[in-house]
């Protein structure tokens, strides 16, 4: 393989296999760690960890934290921190729960079950999240209060604002359409999932082809065709493999029967159906794509990374770093609202302790995913992978029967260890 590599490259220098593929070695390391965790738990649980059912559950449990982790990347990249995300999630979730159970049906007279309830609720939730986020950003950017303090205050404030909004009660059941966004009850089904998989494959191929074309158009060096093909093959395999796994998780018979009954039909004998890709995962994919495009292809993203790398240089280049801070926190707030929606929809009710300790999970996900606390460095896909690793650890330990306190001890230790590995990695490679 390596021989073909050096023949195919135009550069006279012999290049390593990984280098020719232009892969991010730390991404490979993270994927390696993730696979190790999965295999280890699978062995300890006698194969129960890597079942379609468990992978499905793992996926829907990761979504809420992963959505917030993408926003935390921007926050940490600009050298800030947000300790209030779990509480902000609770306030947004409480707002949305009250909107759909009390405000819209009661005060505004919308019928319960009206198709308007979910969209209005979600828009209001997003606005509340973005507004509170902007307010944090204003305090940090314009008034110069350190983000650590602003959001430490926010941690207490928004947790208890949520309490007041609901009087500390559990609010439910939530609107049916809304609950579909939580995971288990709203999925694409088998055919829909395959179509999604196909679209994703085509999208990935287009992105690879387009990137190569742009490089050739400007006469920049490109990697050899075989390397391009290999990367494409792996990406396609991962996408289709993921769809295949989620499609092999069958909806239990009794649940299907109930679905038919609800429609006033009877289930034909031998009828089966699979869950497929949950809507919440679709949402996470959407968030990931949008956030990645923002990070890499927009001025906003460029300014976020420039400011993180050198705030003075950004300022001297005419970037309004104060307004930028407001925008970054506003994005974080809106993502907390989305995460709150997924979290309460998954439970099908709003509970008073929703999102508790999520700030730690979210920060850990971003940091394990390679976001540097010194600013300027981080990736969206890394943060999502970080969230997935955290959730796998937690679920795996629960499955093995590890005590809850010990679970937390392990997760805490892993976070510190991951950062240590990261520091050593950066020193070794001289990477920034």
């Amino acid at each position: 393989m390596t021989d073909t590599a050096s023949q195919a490259t135009t550069s006279p220098k012999k290049r390593g296999f990984i280098e020719t593929l232009e892969l991010d070695t730390r991404l490979l390391g993270m994927i390696g760690a993730f696979i190790l965790v999965c295999i280890a738990f699978n062995i300890v649980t006698d194969g129960r960890f890597l079942t379609a059912r468990n992978i499905f559950n793992l996926t829907i449990q990761t979504v809420s934290v992963a959505i917030m982790a993408t926003g935390m990347v921007f926050i940490i990249v600009t050298r800030h921190i947000d300790l209030s995300v779990g509480s902000l999630l609770a306030t947004c979730s409480a707002t949305m729960a009250m909107m759909q159970t009390a405000v819209l049906p009661g005060w505004l007279g919308l019928e319960l079950g009206s198709p308007l309830i979910a969209p209005i609720t979600i828009v209001v939730g997003l606005l509340v999240g973005a507004l509170i986020g902007s307010f944090h950003g204003y305090l940090v950017g314009y008034l110069g209060i350190p983000a650590f303090i602003v959001t430490l205050g926010g941690l207490l404030v928004w947790r208890n604002v949520a309490w007041y909004l609901t009087n500390g009660q559990t609010i439910g059941p939530l609107d049916e359409t809304y609950v579909d966004l939580g995971g288990i009850s709203g999925t694409l089904g088998e055919t829909g999932s395959w179509i999604l998989g196909l679209i994703a494959v085509l999208g990935a191929l287009y992105a690879i082809w387009n990137g190569r074309r742009a490089k050739i158009a400007h006469k920049f060096p490109v990697k050899p065709i075989w390397a391009e093909m290999l990367v494409a093959t792996v990406i396609i395999a991962v996408i289709l493999g993921f769809v295949w796994i989620l499609n092999s998780y069958q909806i239990p018979g009794p649940r299907l029967e109930r679905q038919f009954e609800a429609r006033g039909e009877t289930m034909p004998d031998g009828y089966t159906a699979a869950y497929g890709v949950p809507y919440s995962v679709l949402l996470l994919i959407g968030v990931a794509v949008v956030m990645t495009v923002v990070a890499r292809r927009t001025r906003l993203g460029r300014y976020i990374f420039a400011t993180g790398g050198n705030p003075d240089a950004a300022e001297l280049s005419g970037i309004n770093t104060r307004l930028l801070t407001v925008k970054v926190f506003a994005i974080m707030g809106a993502l907390c609202a989305l995460a709150g929606m997924v979290a309460s929809a998954r439970l099908s009710f709003h509970s008073n302790d929703i999102g508790t300790l999520d700030e730690l999970r979210v920060i850990a996900a971003a940091v394990i995913g390679g976001t540097a606390l010194s600013g300027g460095i981080g990736t969206i896909y890394g943060a999502i992978l970080g969230a997935l690793i955290m959730q796998s650890l937690q679920s795996g330990m629960a499955m093995v029967g590890v005590d809850a306190p010990l679970q937390n001890i392990v997760v805490g230790a892993v976070l510190v260890f991951a950062v240590l590995i990261d520091i050593i990695y950066r020193k070794r490679t001289g990477a920034v």
Binding site: R299, A306, G309, A313, A314, L316, G430, V432
Partner: protein
């Protein structure tokens, strides 16, 4: 070494009749109790190089930061081509075609050369996304002319040598058709070869009618390139002299002792 196509008028040299490109009048800046810049006035004509000399801490960087919009003056006024202007941030300065090479270079270490060169002024695709390929292509073009040894276009600038970083900062200042160029110790990190390239660049830009403030604490750098020198000491302007009217020793006297040269009778 041609650098940019510029719409600037043909070189006029320093003729007392024309309006100066820039006049800074009676500028004061203080930090706490320190008068970093104390009632200083300087001016600059098209196609002219004015050296700003003085020891470390004399207030040179602070003075030019007022012009580049990085610092707001406590008092004083700035005129660009005869008109009074308000420069309250770096965007204002750029809008008046004032470009600056900062002493600290002001580069975002985590970004590559092209991203730094176009920071705040990105080229975009028709869809409004940043056009990295186009920016890299432009960067390759200008670097080809400024520093043909420069090859590291894909790396973050942190991975570059001092001289390479300096070329990125210089490229950024000259790419956007500056009329007024501020160079704060541009050769501080450079070897002799690269220093010579900067000197050639200054000559070239001068021919295009660009006015340059060249800051240095090394008088030899300056005497060859400048038409006039302004010397600062302890935040105050010691004086401004045409280079042909003074000797190196006169200038040294101004820098060290802060005294006006005795004019040869």
């Amino acid at each position: 070494m041609t650098v940019t196509e510029t719409n600037a008028p043909p070189p006029t040299g320093t003729s007392p009749g024309t309006t100066p490109l820039v006049e800074m009048r009676d500028i004061c800046v203080s930090f706490g109790g320190i008068h970093a810049v104390d009632h200083v006035s300087v001016d600059l004509y098209p196609g002219e190089v004015v050296g700003l000399l003085g020891h470390n801490g004399a207030g040179k960087s602070t003075l030019i930061k007022v012009l580049s919009g990085a610092i707001k003056a406590d008092s004083g006024e700035i005129l660009v081509e005869g008109e009074k202007v308000e420069i309250t941030n770096p965007r204002d300065a750029r809008a008046h075609n004032i470009e600056t090479i900062y002493q600290t270079l002001a580069l975002a270490d985590n970004l590559d050369a092209a991203s730094n060169l176009f920071l705040g002024r990105e080229l975009t695709t028709p869809m409004g996304f940043v056009d990295d390929a186009a920016m890299e292509a432009e960067t390759r073009k200008i670097m080809g002319r400024l520093n043909s040894n420069f090859k590291k276009f894909a790396d973050p600038v942190k991975a570059l040598s001092g001289g390479q970083r300096q070329s990125v900062a210089i490229a950024r200042a000259v790419y956007f058709n500056a009329k007024i160029l501020i160079m704060d110790e541009p050769t501080a990190a450079l070897g002799p070869q690269e220093t010579k390239m900067v000197a050639e660049l200054v000559q070239e830009l001068k021919k295009q009618g660009i006015g340059i403030f060249l800051i240095s604490h090394d008088i030899h750098d300056v005497m060859d390139l400048c038409d006039r020198v302004s010397v600062m000491k302890n935040g105050q302007l010691v004086g401004t002299e045409r280079v042909e009217d003074v000797t190196d020793d006169d200038i040294l006297g101004m820098i060290i002792l802060g005294k006006q040269p005795e004019k040869a009778a």
